[in-house]
Subunit: 378 residues, 2 copies
């Protein structure tokens, strides 16, 4: 422990789904936990609301029907939702916030913990929407001195996902890739990683303004899915890059099917003869998000050499192992204000994070309008 | 060459798609090809019409609109169809018939070829709907003496697919499997392979009569997708077997999605705590056919640990290599009238195979009504 006196309690957010079909996201008081030998207490300064946080936060709730509940001191927001597939969380106040950053204000006795006192750290914890958390040193990624905690808030999910996509592309034998939300924070990071690493990337965006934004960032292949020429543009970009793997955050609709079809079209152009089963080029789409919660529709007009599946960061990190994971995390810390810089559309106190209007705003997951929770702000 | 005189020509079927959007399947005369050193001439006695043959045969044509064309001597059937995705076969008379069986009536000079004279062989050739074919010895699977060529006609596609499914299940770390067309010839083979090899199999069938049929064959887990209790029955069977991989011949509709959902439900029952991403049990569906040509609809209510993809026999055989492939083929030949026995609903001469009514019948791909082409019959 350091000498600095810690408060006995702090504010945190919890999300509770009850059997009346209502999910309630609210502030509550939590007890400070003294750090064990290998633990530190982090004063949390910033935590992003990523799309991957929304499932736990609002449990598929109806944004339009969000309403204020709770008290003046401990406000909350309630949304009607479906209980389907959520039995395991019923009645339990779930912690929220995958990642965040802050300053280490207390530490256990071990040298590893003591070495972090006063440092800015990013962390992955699953409970980051809170004023303090007591964390194991291994959960913390130490930033260079002088790093703004707001810059370090999103040091895990998006940066490691971007690096994980490129690593997955390589390990499965592909040489270029497609990303379906090119103008997202993650997309911009991925574009920078690919540019730095010499990997060809096809960026799909959903608005023409985002084409310009990505080109200004040096992206070579940007395709606007809202354009009439989308299919031709996409096919041209696939032909130019040879991309046969895509990472898709949208999930619903026919985009995955379209990607596989266009990849197959390019592969077919290189075939000398007709094959009843299409090309033998393996085409892969990984769905890593669900911006469109509707069903994925596969037309299966892309031969028989194809795959689609879920992709998650944690299994990827387990698969590559500790050493490779450490190498990736070190790169993130070193490039947190450049390659892995994030931007936010709004900053929210914990109290604002349960305001129905704010919930509606961040619940839309609009590209370019990400929210950053700043738990120390009043 | 043997002393037996071969005819100069023989009859064969070819399927030709023309740019007016019509596919024509017709008889024509072909020239006999003298065997090279390592080749044999097979007098073809029987060749099945598998679902995997239909794409090449009728090119997605409209069965209801099939009409007779051609001449009295060389009849043909024509069907309107779409050209989409079939540019590479336009105007080319495509050979048809993946596999067949017959008697070796002539052979080249090599000992390997000479050893086959008079033998009954099954073969995989892509052009089996013909009276004769000149084949490399490596394409032939020699049957035990006394085997009826009709029994050996389907020695490749279904038997090796059944064996390939079990091998794929094992190599990807699953311990039990699901098959979505349990009462098909392939399904019955797979049921026997699993019974003999001690592998748990969930058979999905589409009619209650097929439940009895499979049970009579010793199947333990048979689920009728037309029953009101289908979802519960399927979930129970998945729980009982632990199956987390399925092979699906239907393709279209929501069956793949339902399989993944029910597998996830069982996996979730074993989870101690709520996970926002679902279980970490990998659930896999391989689509190896397209009895329903409609789109595959994935509801994605099955967590993030899932995959769906195409599965084909040829890449599987390439992957396992020559020695393992030979071992599998030997097993097929040894058990061709038991484990790998096929039954047919009808036998067709080449002439009957282009009769519009017959095309409509085999084009439906009804389970239990498979057609066997017998090219030597008048």
């Amino acid at each position: 422990m350091t000498d600095r006196a810690l408060a006995d309690t702090f504010l945190e957010l919890r999300s509770t789904l009850t059997d009346d079909g209502v999910v309630t996201l609210g502030l509550r008081e939590a007890d400070m936990v003294a750090p064990g030998d290998d633990q530190v207490v982090v004063r949390i300064e910033a935590a992003p609301i990523n799309p991957s946080d929304l499932g736990m936060l609002i449990a598929g709730g109806d944004l339009a029907a969000a309403s204020s509940v709770g008290t003046e001191e401990l406000p909350a927001v309630a949304l009607p939702t479906s209980l389907a597939g959520q039995a395991a969380r019923l009645g339990k106040p779930m912690p929220v916030g995958n990642e965040g950053a802050g300053v280490v204000v207390a530490a256990g006795r071990s040298p590893a913990a003591q070495a972090l006192v006063g440092k800015v750290v990013g962390f992955l914890s699953g409970n980051a929407y809170a004023q303090y958390r007591t964390l194991h040193v291994s959960q913390c990624l130490v930033m260079r001195d002088g790093t703004d905690p707001a810059d370090a808030a999103a040091a895990f999910v998006n940066p490691l996902t971007a690096l994980g996509m490129v690593a997955t592309m390589r390990s499965e034998g592909h040489t270029a890739l497609v990303h379906t939300v090119g103008a997202s924070n993650l997309g911009l990071m991925l574009n920078r990683v690919c540019r730095d690493d010499g990997v060809s990337l096809v960026n799909i965006v959903r608005k023409s303004a985002q084409v310009d934004q990505l080109r200004a960032e040096g992206a070579e292949h940007v395709v606007d899915s809202s354009a009439d020429s989308f299919l031709d543009d996409l096919t041209d970009a696939l032909r130019a890059t040879g991309a046969t793997i895509a990472f898709d955050a949208i999930g619903g609709g026919d985009l995955a099917s379209t990607l596989l079809s266009c990849m197959e079209k390019v592969a077919g152009e290189q075939l000398g003869e007709f094959s009843r089963y299409g090309s033998d080029t393996h085409k892969q789409v990984y769905v890593y998000g669900g911006l469109d919660r509707g069903p994925t529709v596969l037309r299966r007009d892309f031969g028989m050499s194809w795959g689609i599946g879920g992709w998650l960061l944690t299994p990827f990190l387990i698969k590559v192992g500790q050493d490779e994971g450490d190498r990736l995390r070190r790169r993130v810390a070193d490039e947190i204000t450049t390659t892995f810089a994030s931007t936010y559309g709004t900053r929210l106190s914990l109290r604002e994070a349960v305001d129905p209007d704010q919930v509606r705003r961040y619940g839309r997951m609009a590209t370019g309008d990400k929210a950053l929770v700043t738990p120390q702000s009043v």
